[in-house]
Symmetry: C3
Subunit: 262 residues, 3 copies
């Protein structure tokens, strides 16, 4: 039934070992015509919400794919390996929440199955490397056209593990939101959607005492000044023109930041 | 009109976020048969000369490609997005100098256009991520055979932003040159071309007091000794056999180093 | 005669410079239909045993390939560039031991040749970048179907440089083994094969005073406790549930670790 020409990989494996290459290799052996896009392999070890966020922000820009996400501190335990069908692709990974946000941006959950087809697993399956031995081969079989129902029994979507929603609160002239991520440029992305910004004026205070301005691009403020803007993922973010907002604000993912009119 | 089978990417996006994968995805959606070579995504943030240098030193070894370089501290401002046609490939990126040195090694500038075709841009173009929303789609369209003139209006090559030439001075028995880059092995590459070495003897002083020898390979000197040689990019470089020249010399890109006969 | 659809690359080049991309480019120019899997480019500079180990642990999971390994502190000296034929792929790299362990896991050495065919080398071969100028083009020619004997003269396998075997000793209720590698999760892999574990009981001491348990997956022990297990490469390894064994044990590659029943 068609299948997919592409598989994406999102892991916390890093690139110093051969883990990622082994996943590429397993896919190439099963599905040699399928191509792989590496989303990132630098999710901080075991940081499930970070893996979930980076996949959700990237997947809409990829071709229709089987998206594999392996941030899996429970590997080898009873946590279920699952595959989620959506209107715009399939998601494969552990049932620990890492796939949930991506399923929402891909149009919602159509169908969930537990990946349990032992014919698909690598012969001598390890207890500690399901990326190579279970998730990559399952993705490869699904990409070559296997039906979701071939992967294993149906799972009730209501039983899936879900992540806590990040904190977002909006009031009259202010918003408070959790830091989702800090990118390579030191820009601080909040969980609040960009639309929440429209109710705020141009002159803002962050955390009560740091002055900032609302704008759309880094050079809407002078060098060294702070900008509050809607970023390329549609979230509220804070940047410094020519600098690193993360240093100025001294925050990290999970902290809550308050932005208010001044 | 032919087009190109390959696109290369050179950015300062890093690989911890999904930025690079989004560019791959946009290319895959528009030009699924085109293949991508990542030159590097670890240009130091906003370091335009470093991005220009690494692309210029790598592009001649790639197949004929559309080369995209995005080191773009002025994203979202009036700086022009451009595409440069050369006899050996096309270059796409911001008009801030990052493409210039590559255009020279690819045979010179045949034609320049401003990338302005809104039909090519991603629907809801962000102000801060032109790699995904403007440069990657433009490169994909050019790779699939679109003419440069389809991208937008012609630009006078004399109006392009150019980088300052790095310092190189050569005299009788000496040369002075700016440090271009320090590679993973601690080798220090200077801006001077390798031919400038031929006028020097074998026994050299670096910076007036560090002894070195001219040679061609690391083991032309004893372990721990300094070697001055023409590197694989055709530049004068300084290495230590079994060590790191950057530590011995304590220099960084932009510093000027003097090499003289002793 | 067939050739190979895939080339793998294992180097110490890092990804900050354009070295890896140049190798990809050279391959693409000679063998445009061949696809490349990057095993890793983060072998510590000049660490030949580490390069040999990561390739040997990864290659069995890749499709039949020409595997290129370039960890080559002797580049430009008399060390021989070689290609090794095995029943399950070809290995290309310097004769310094980096290919040996992979040749064993791929079924043993069928044939060795010195890579000496000057028609294959890049025109103006550098003395310091044989990855781009010699090994990548040789691999590309072999992948497109050239015979090993076209690469150059036969080499007696008994003359190949070999690495010292890592320390492994097993006694009644104990084993001692060298640390092979520490992965991104802080798990410590020993040189001992997983089978050596079966003779040990469940309650163990590491290094005489650190308590650990034998098991198969991280959650066989409580959070913070140490686990001794057979890892996904079939080696004895030490992990901490939710922590980093490398920190608890304070070891690094080359150290010898003793595990004994308590």
């Amino acid at each position: 039934m068609g299948g997919y020409g592409w598989i994406s990989l999102t892991t916390d494996y890093g690139t110093f070992d051969g883990f990622v290459a082994s996943c590429h290799g397993v896919i190439a052996r099963i599905a040699p015509d399928v191509r792989v896009i590496d989303v990132t392999h630098h999710v901080p070890p075991a940081d499930v919400p970070r893996g979930a966020a980076v996949l959700a922000q990237t997947a809409p820009h990829l071709p229709e794919s089987v998206h594999v996400a392996v941030v899996d501190p429970g590997v080898g335990t009873a946590r279920r390996p699952i595959a989620i069908g959506t209107p715009n692709g399939v998601l494969v990974g552990p049932d620990n929440g890492v796939l949930i946000w991506a399923s929402e941006v891909l149009g919602g959950i159509d169908e969930v199955v537990q990946v349990a087809n032992k014919d698909w697993f690598l012969g001598d399956m390890s207890r500690t490397f399901h990326g190579r031995d279970l998730f990559a081969p399952a993705a490869a079989h699904l990409a070559t056209g296997a039906a979701l129902s071939d992967a294993g029994p149906s799972v009730d979507a209501d039983t899936l593990v879900r992540l806590a929603d990040p904190v977002v609160a909006v009031g009259d002239g202010w918003l408070e939101a959790e830091v989702m991520t800090v990118d390579r440029f030191g820009n601080v992305q909040l969980a609040a959607g960009g639309a929440t910004l429209r109710a705020l004026g141009a002159d803002l205070l962050i955390g009560g005492n740091v002055r900032a301005r609302r704008g759309t691009t880094f050079q809407d403020v002078k060098p060294g000044e702070l900008l509050v803007y809607e970023d390329s993922a549609g979230r509220v973010a804070i940047a410094v023109n020519g600098g690193r907002a993360v240093v100025v604000l001294s925050v990290r993912p999970g902290d809550v930041v308050r932005i208010a009119e001044r």
